[in-house]
């Protein structure tokens, strides 16, 4: 952006330099503070995760920390005693996926309903957004009561004369979608091939050349794993079954309840931003309301969907207080790596392993956020 034209070019340059210097000086304190307290400490955590800080003398005045490489990470993923962490990680994946689907789906539906300006629109908007303002501890406590085995949700059917539900929302020990951790590698490859194939099929209509580039590797990967999958190394020396624990349902419900109002607000803002002319034009051309949303409104609010995914996924990866309030620590069925990290570090005094869990969570969160940041940075530059 060119500044106002100065009569003398030299003065302009010096002014701009001065501007730059003062801007830099203004930013300097926060750069230093963030450098130390964010990046410095991430680096320190990473270093601790490569050490063996823990065990008997972990809290000595000058604890001995020796470098052990990636032993902590290896132990978490393939060690005998890492089973709890692996279960938590699987939980977190299912939790994130279900939360994204639930909160975005329900938020979108609510936003579409309110976008058509029903009577009392602002009242409903407040009602749906209200759960956002509660703290997770409050939400967790309320939902723990509501999901108690002999009360709350389970006795709702009795009001209409039906027998009460018997589902133990938070204490169920059942699991579905079971898989063996030993087969982690083949499963990951199958997932990759599935994504490639679906993506390719989706592209087939518009861009057949690109679709083939996706479809062929997808089929090759899937086929070769199916044929020679037995040759892949096993991730663990013994069978270890993980899956989606149905006890997590309760926690997912509570989180969706809290966050669908938020996604609704995001979408509603997006919909309101679409010019009314566009909608009128579409209607004039004979589009139904459903078609308007499908072909016009939704594509236009795609950036909002992406932000919602980013925000919700990193919230679900950092989830701690809600789970702590609902099922407490040491509840493997509903465990989460963030809880595990806290207990490993501050209860078991195993600082190195706790740091390793923290770094793993950090990397997972980064894989969601960094692509988003790169693309938004590019967009800003191209503008």
């Amino acid at each position: 952006m060119p500044g106002p034209v100065m009569p003398d070019q030299a003065i302009g340059t010096s002014m701009r330099n001065k501007d730059r210097i003062s801007a830099f000086l203004t930013l300097l304190p926060s750069i230093i503070l963030i450098g130390i307290f964010v990046y410095g400490f991430i680096g320190n955590t990473f270093w601790i995760s490569l050490s063996d800080w823990g065990g008997a003398a972990a809290l000595a005045e000058n604890p001995v920390k020796s470098y052990v490489g990636f032993a902590n990470y290896l132990d978490l993923f393939t060690g005998f005693l890492g089973g709890g962490f692996r279960q938590d990680l699987v939980n977190a994946v299912f939790y994130s996926v279900m939360l994204l689907a639930g909160a975005i789906g329900i938020g979108l539906i609510l936003a579409m309903l309110l976008d058509n300006k029903p009577r009392g629109e602002s009242f409903f908007r407040t009602v749906f957004l209200y759960p956002m303002s509660l703290s997770f501890i409050v939400t967790g406590t309320i939902w723990r009561w509501m999901l108690a085995p002999q009360g709350g949700v389970n006795i709702l059917p009795t009001y209409v004369g039906l027998p009460p539900l018997r589902f133990p929302w938070l204490s169920s020990t059942d699991a579905i979608l079971l898989f063996n951790w030993q087969n982690l590698l083949p499963i990951a490859l199958y997932l990759v091939s599935l994504v490639l194939i679906i993506w390719g099929l989706w592209r087939l209509k518009n861009n057949p050349a690109k679709a083939l580039v996706l479809l062929i590797p997808g089929v090759v990967v899937g086929g070769s794993v199916w044929l020679w999958g037995d040759l892949l190394p096993q991730a663990l020396f013994m069978e270890e079954i993980h899956g989606f624990n149905t006890a997590t349902f309760g926690i997912i419900m509570a989180t969706i309840w809290q966050y669908s109002g938020y996604t609704m607000a995001l979408y509603l803002a997006g919909f309101t931003g679409i010019s009314q002319d566009l909608r009128d034009a579409a209607m004039l051309d004979g589009a139904s309301t459903a078609k308007y949303y499908r072909y016009i409104a939704l594509p236009m609010v795609k950036p909002i969907t992406i932000s919602a995914i980013i925000i919700l996924s990193h919230i679900s990866l950092k989830m701690f207080d809600l789970i702590f309030a609902m099922t407490g620590p040491d509840n493997g069925q509903t465990g989460h790596p963030a809880l595990n990290m806290y207990l490993t570090t501050f209860r078991a005094n195993d600082f190195a392993r706790g740091a390793a869990i923290a770094i793993i969570l950090f990397i997972i969160a980064a894989t969601f956020i960094i692509p988003y940041m790169i693309s938004s940075y590019r967009q800003r530059r191209s503008r």
Partner: protein, 420 residues
């Protein structure tokens, strides 16, 4: 800078002490005392009673009562760790006596040996030997126990048992005989609560299977967790769990005790803080309103846990802290604290008139029973093992295999250096 000044002050103070030791003895203490604990809720008044006595004795000392709330000190312990790592130890802090203190703080060389203090205060003879063994190591004694709780107690409502026609079982075999009868009447034989109460039940069952000697051997590393004897405990535990309620993991310990009070369950095994809950909150009279017995197969054994205070190295106000510890160990102090807290005194010469019927019976047992330490409450194993014990229980509840569980337990014990 602040610390430098403080250190200089401490050094100067120590020099004065050394120079005029006899004179200072008589002089009144002054300065500050910071005590760190998680006693804020129901236990708050008991702690305040102690602080009141301390203030009366040492009017010139300003007591700073630093409490961090949260059940069993989850949060307090985390805050304490960050303070200790940051080099700002409180003058004295609450900690479960035994390995929870030893494994974390003594092994890290952060505590002062209190043996000379124990000798000077005459505490070596008023505390039972079994207790001293559990709160000390071969290198010293590390904390002053303020209270004693018993873990292996079974609670029931006498009137209900009469109605259902069952007697209090003395062994698990007797329990297995009456449990089906109770189940047939639609009554849960044994009420159970959330996950830590499962660990609590496990230690009572295991003590009955192993006996006191082998229980001690388990924690000194002489008996392996995957030995056939220890494996039997898991077999027995499987049988016991069959007679518990299905919704256990959603109930707090109070709710599990409520099941017994409401007549939905026959028995509950819980520490003797349940006595306080039953008599104070539920307004039941000891002996007639509610009854208790050692958990099946553990009669004559007293599985204890204790809150205690220690003296961290580098405490800023060592002298006032020692006066605090002396008060905790004294008869006056412990008899002021324990009736309010609902626990008994660690001293064998406490004034029993100040305690209720349950406290008197527990104190009598404490004097004559064989004393063993509790796992679930930090006496027998370090914090690393206690944390990983959750995953052992996880393996057990998932596989229901005593063999796999016992193997996992042995791995966890090795990793955490049990018996070393």
């Amino acid at each position: 800078m602040k610390r430098l000044v403080l250190r200089a002050c401490v050094a100067a103070f120590a020099a004065v002490l050394l120079a005029g030791a006899p004179a200072v003895q008589a002089k009144e203490l002054s300065g500050e005392l910071e005590i760190f604990s998680w006693w804020a809720g129901d236990e708050g008044p008991a702690l305040q009673a102690l602080i009141d006595i301390y203030n009366k004795k040492n009017p010139n000392v300003k007591v700073i009562n630093a409490t961090v709330t949260g059940g069993s000190g989850v949060n307090a312990k985390a805050v304490l760790k960050t303070r200790m790592l940051g080099g700002e130890p409180p003058d004295s802090f609450q900690v479960h006596a035994g390995q929870e203190l030893i494994g974390t703080w003594v092994k890290a060389d952060r505590m002062e040996d209190l043996t000379p203090f124990f000798k000077k205060q005459g505490l070596m003879t008023v505390f039972p030997q079994g207790l001293l063994k559990n709160i000390g190591t071969d290198k010293g004694i590390w904390s002053v126990p303020v209270n004693i709780h018993r873990s292996n107690v079974m609670w029931y409502i006498p009137a209900n048992l009469e109605k259902w026609g069952v007697k209090v079982p003395a062994t698990w075999d007797e329990f297995f005989e009456i449990a089906p009868k109770l189940k047939a009447q639609g009554i849960v034989p044994l009420a159970l609560g959330e996950n830590w109460t499962v660990n609590h039940l496990w230690e009572s069952v295991t003590l009955s299977v192993l006996g006191a000697e082998n229980w001690d051997n388990l924690w000194s590393g002489k008996l392996a967790f995957d030995s056939p004897v220890a494996m039997n405990a898991w077999v027995e535990f499987t049988k016991v769990l069959e007679f518990t309620n299905a919704d256990a993991s959603t109930l707090s310990w109070q709710q599990a005790t409520d099941m017994v009070v409401d007549g939905r369950a026959a028995f509950n095994i819980m520490g003797d803080w349940a006595a306080g809950y039953l008599s104070t909150t539920k307004q039941l009279a000891p002996k007639t309103g509610f009854g208790w017995a050692p958990s099946p197969g553990t009669s004559g054994k007293f599985m204890f846990l204790a809150d205690s205070f220690g003296l961290p190295k580098g405490a800023k106000n060592r002298e006032t802290a020692l006066a605090w510890l002396a008060l905790l160990g004294s008869r006056e102090g412990s008899d002021a604290f324990n009736p309010l807290k609902g626990s008994i005194s660690a001293r064998t010469d406490s004034d029993l008139k100040k305690y209720n019927a349950y406290g008197q019976s527990a104190a009598a047992d404490f004097k004559k029973d064989r004393i063993v330490g509790s796992l679930a409450h930090g006496v027998t194993a370090n914090e690393g093992f206690m944390n990983d014990f959750a995953s052992i229980m996880e393996v057990f509840l998932k596989t229901h295999s005593p063999v796999a569980t016992a193997k996992a337990a042995q791995q966890v014990a090795t990793k955490n250096g049990i018996g070393k």
